[in-house]
Symmetry: C2
Subunit: 193 residues, 2 copies
């Protein structure tokens, strides 16, 4: 078990409906030492890549992405979720359909900050169906930027997102992959990596 | 001029309607070295306070608050903006009326992470009319937590928020206070501190 799996075992709460609550240390209250360690681990895993920028999406990815960007010594850019259709021509827009909520959301980023010269490491806290990652990949494509890799803190391995992204040929690294959860017993089964 | 005022002069863009764009380094693309320096500066200014937790609000405050929390060696907690009325009893809720948009928004935080034992340093990127800060102060009050201080990166000194918070007796520190902006000339007048 790595440091993150240990922490999930210790402080994560399994709720009915395959919900994992990690809000005491990752996505509401944040343990800064853990974020720092996550940043170093992604540097270890993607250190051989040419990364010019770290990209994430608001809100809970921001803290993690900051510490990854610190390790790489590059800026961090976060995409915004937008409900409005009236976006001026100065933004790249990706329309993302949510599997879960069966609605469409827009993900936007300013054209000023993504270019064909950019080599991106895309970071997020959770990967389930992969809508957020697909939106960020689409934004990168629109700008002609290169996606060097994608780093996820917790992947729900029993949902489709990770398989889709890996099938597309992307270098996706998840620090913890959960293959099964049981709300009654509180058991979490991690995938051997 | 301090490091932040210098950076605003260099990379900030003044737009009509008293809008200051700092999206190249602070609230869309983020300069991590600057955030780190901001964290150290708030530690210098609030270092004599007993701080157990740093609190901010999503989304653009999160990165800054992470680096402040790192300096103090405490967790960071971010309040969420919520549009839904159906919040279970497990959240503190503050209803905040926006001066600008003339609508009401809910700001929420889990009761698990705020208690009378908490001494909070509240952090945000911008202060204009102060709605976000008022919401966070209200959340702290609901929990019986102590607000040790409030740290703002950029205060629009010509709007009412800063005066209100200081009149209420809070220790509010803004790294840069803008007294006037001129979109035609691009001039920014900082308040002497």
């Amino acid at each position: 078990m790595n440091f993150l799996e240990e922490r999930i075992r210790k402080d994560g709460l399994v709720k009915p409906g395959n919900v994992l609550k990690v809000d005491s240390f990752l996505n509401h209250q944040m343990d800064i030492n853990l974020l720092d360690e996550i940043g170093r681990e992604f540097k270890r895993r993607f250190g051989d890549k040419h990364v010019t920028k770290v990209m994430t999406i608001e809100a809970s990815g921001i803290g993690i992405a900051c510490f990854v960007a610190k390790e790489f010594g590059v800026p961090m850019l976060f995409a915004k979720k937008s409900k409005s259709i009236n976006i001026a021509g100065e933004m790249y827009v990706a329309e993302v359909e949510s599997f879960t909520h069966q609605n469409k959301n827009q993900v936007i980023v300013s054209k000023k900050f993504l270019s064909p010269d950019d080599h991106l490491l895309i970071i997020d806290d959770f990967l389930a169906n992969g809508c957020a990652l697909q939106g960020m990949i689409s934004l990168a494509e629109s700008a002609g930027a290169t996606v060097e890799g994608l780093g996820i803190v917790i992947e729900k391995g029993f949902q489709i997102g990770g398989r889709v992204i890996r099938n597309l040929g992307y270098d996706l690294e998840s620090l913890a992959i959960i293959d099964a959860m049981d709300a009654e017993t509180g058991t979490i089964t991690f995938r051997e990596q």
